[in-house]
């Protein structure tokens, strides 16, 4: 049953509630079924699946509104939402052995742990589940799918790359919230990087034994993609642990992977949005500029340490510049700093910080002076 839409805003709100409702029922029943797997229950906060699934469903709904990716909203298919409506509650009943006291304890507890609200009582959680169920069901009844027409400019490749980015992000976020070991690992490493505590970070990497290079590379990619953390701490620590050559190579190659990933994310999600939002002539003008000067811009920005490595990679992905041009310029541009930081890491003397800052000042001055000279010669040419 559904009623004719009278207001676009209401339809939008009902759409979000509908997405949240079906993902809620599905993930809550899935989490309860997985609790029966004791090995997993002892190692994971399975309830955290609920907010992650609800979040991703709402994000998919919003992406659908913007990019018109209709077939992704799988819960809007009749047979899927019927299966969830019947299968979800039935799963809960089966895994709780049709026992009323278990039904009142486990789903409420799983949800409470998942949303990190230990101060709420189980009866409050049960009331919340009931309210969510009623509101969700009503939203579903009143929701009628309505898609924005817009400019359907998405190619299949663009759809696939959006799907890849959303899918990988979903897995990462799910692991982060569900598995406490992964969450603590990321939080500990981030805290050390944020504090620029090189010695502590080196010891931390050492604690992973043979896996230290892999952990270092993963953290380099993580800081590039997600967190505004200082990458030079990882480069220093790699130099200390693996020597200037191998440490430098590890830092350089993992930073290259991170840059490629940032570029790919921006190209997948940002570029279609830019194409949809900005006028055709503006896009053509900026694309022309980046085709002509893109590589040089990237090279110079990689040499300047006060320009964010990650922001440059994301920004480049929004332009039309070719990936290989971006990647080669990044590789050349980041090499001097990587070599120096790795060498300083290996020597690990007390003067490391002083040498580090002398290098930064020298590079900055060199780039600024060369840019100034070029500008002056251009001005002279124009006046002549």
């Amino acid at each position: 049953m559904s009623i004719a839409p009278t207001n676009r805003t209401f339809q939008f709100i009902f759409g979000i509630l509908n997405a949240g409702f079906f993902s809620f029922i599905f993930s809550l029943s899935l989490a309860n079924a997985l609790v029966k797997w004791t090995w997993l229950d002892m190692r994971a906060n399975l309830g955290a699946m609920v907010p992650v699934f609800v979040g991703i469903a709402i994000i998919l709904f919003l992406l659908n509104q913007f990019f018109v990716l209709d077939h992704w909203l799988i819960w809007e298919k009749r047979y899927v939402h019927a299966s969830i409506l019947v299968g979800g509650p039935l799963t809960l009943l089966i895994v709780q052995s049709f026992q009323w006291d278990r039904l009142l304890i486990v789903p409420a507890y799983v949800l409470r742990q998942g949303i990190y609200m230990p101060h709420l009582s189980l009866s409050q959680m049960n009331s919340a589940i009931l309210v969510i169920f009623i509101v969700g069901l009503l939203s579903h009844l009143f929701y009628q799918k309505q898609l924005e027409e817009g400019r359907k400019i998405m190619t299949k490749a663009q759809r696939n790359s959006i799907f890849a980015v959303v899918g990988i992000s979903f897995v990462f976020v799910l692991l982060y919230f569900v598995q406490p070991g992964i969450r603590y690992f990321i939080n500990d490493a981030s805290a050390m990087l944020a504090a620029a505590d090189i010695e502590a970070f080196r010891d931390y990497l050492l604690s992973f034994g043979y896996f230290a290079p892999i952990v270092s590379a993963l953290l380099m990619i993580f800081q590039a993609v997600l967190a505004p953390l200082p990458a030079f701490v990882i480069t220093f620590a790699n130099g200390m642990l693996f020597g200037a050559f191998w440490g430098g190579l590890l830092s350089w190659s993992s930073a290259m992977l991170g840059a490629a990933l940032c570029f790919f994310i921006a190209r997948s999600l940002g570029r279609p949005a830019v194409e949809k939002l900005v006028s055709k002539s503006a896009i053509e003008m900026t694309d022309k500029f980046f085709q002509q000067y893109g590589k040089q811009s990237i090279l110079v920005s990689r040499l300047l340490p006060f320009i964010s490595f990650d922001v440059v990679s994301y920004a480049a992905g929004l332009t039309s510049m070719r990936f290989w041009g971006f990647w080669i310029a990044t590789g050349i541009g980041q090499a001097p700093a990587t070599i120096l930081y790795s060498y300083l890491g290996q020597t690990a003397s007390g003067s490391v910080k002083i040498l580090f800052w002398i290098f930064i000042v020298t590079i900055c001055l060199a780039v600024i002076i060369s840019a100034w000279k070029k500008k002056s010669s251009l001005a002279k040419q124009i006046s002549a």
Binding site: V35, K353, V361
Partner: protein, 225 residues
């Protein structure tokens, strides 16, 4: 041009001085993770003061709350610090940090066994024997842990002070008391060997016929025998 260069240099020097001045504490030994809950003496055990030691009576009291889920599902965690990785997986959620709990047991003269490692599966925990009792408001009596937990093999639950100080800080599982012998938990049950729960040889479920409702504050007392 000159002005711009000077300005930039000044800014960079200022930034570098700030960065160099911001020293970080080094981690010489094991650095305790989570909120510190140092034991007090001569006060009531509450959520705000969750760890109380009585050197004369040789007891350590821990403030905790009952986790109702494990009165219907099995667990191997008896008492875990709520900020630890497995804080939500225990029958009782402790408000005391496991590292401070270790220090409190040392303060009453308990001797750590420190005989287990991750590679000693099949062995049992050693160390000073502890009598573990639980009480809550309205409880008819002070219960022994073994009266509140159903061991599927029928063995009684008896705790020993395993120690595992450094490992418990590194892993930060938050374990104060495990239901089978454990190389990470500060105390564990020496009647079940290491790996017994993981190998499905035994299950532990809170006795819902005796235990209070989910979320009820309880005081867990460890007495050195």
């Amino acid at each position: 041009m000159k002005k711009l260069t000077y300005l930039l240099l000044a800014a960079l020097v200022a930034v570098s001085l700030t960065a160099c001045g911001g020293g970080q504490e080094t981690s010489g030994g094991a650095k305790v993770k989570g909120t510190q809950t140092v034991a007090a003496e001569g006060v009531d055990t509450t959520e705000q003061q969750p760890l109380v030691v009585d050197k004369e009576a040789k007891t350590v009291k821990v403030f905790a709350k009952l986790n109702g889920k494990y009165t219907v599902e099995p667990t191997r965690h008896g008492l875990n610090f709520h900020e630890g990785k497995y804080g939500g997986q225990a029958l009782f959620t402790s408000y005391a940090n496991q590292a401070n709990f270790h220090d409190a047991l040392m303060a009453i003269g308990a001797e750590a066994g420190n005989n287990l490692t991750p590679d000693t599966a099949g062995q049992t925990i050693e160390g000073s024997v502890l009598d573990v009792t639980i009480s809550w408001e309205g409880a008819p009596k002070e219960y022994k842990m073994t009266e509140l937990v159903l061991d599927s093999t029928g063995k009684p639950i008896e705790y020993k002070f395993g120690g595992n100080h450094a490992r418990s800080i590194d892993a930060f599982t938050g374990c104060l008391a495990c239901f089978d012998s454990c190389p990470v938990g500060i105390t564990s049950n020496h009647h079940q060997h290491q790996g017994a729960f993981a190998d499905k040889e035994v299950e532990f479920i809170g006795n819902k016929d005796v235990l209070p409702a989910d979320g009820t504050p309880v005081i867990v007392t460890f007495k050195l025998l």
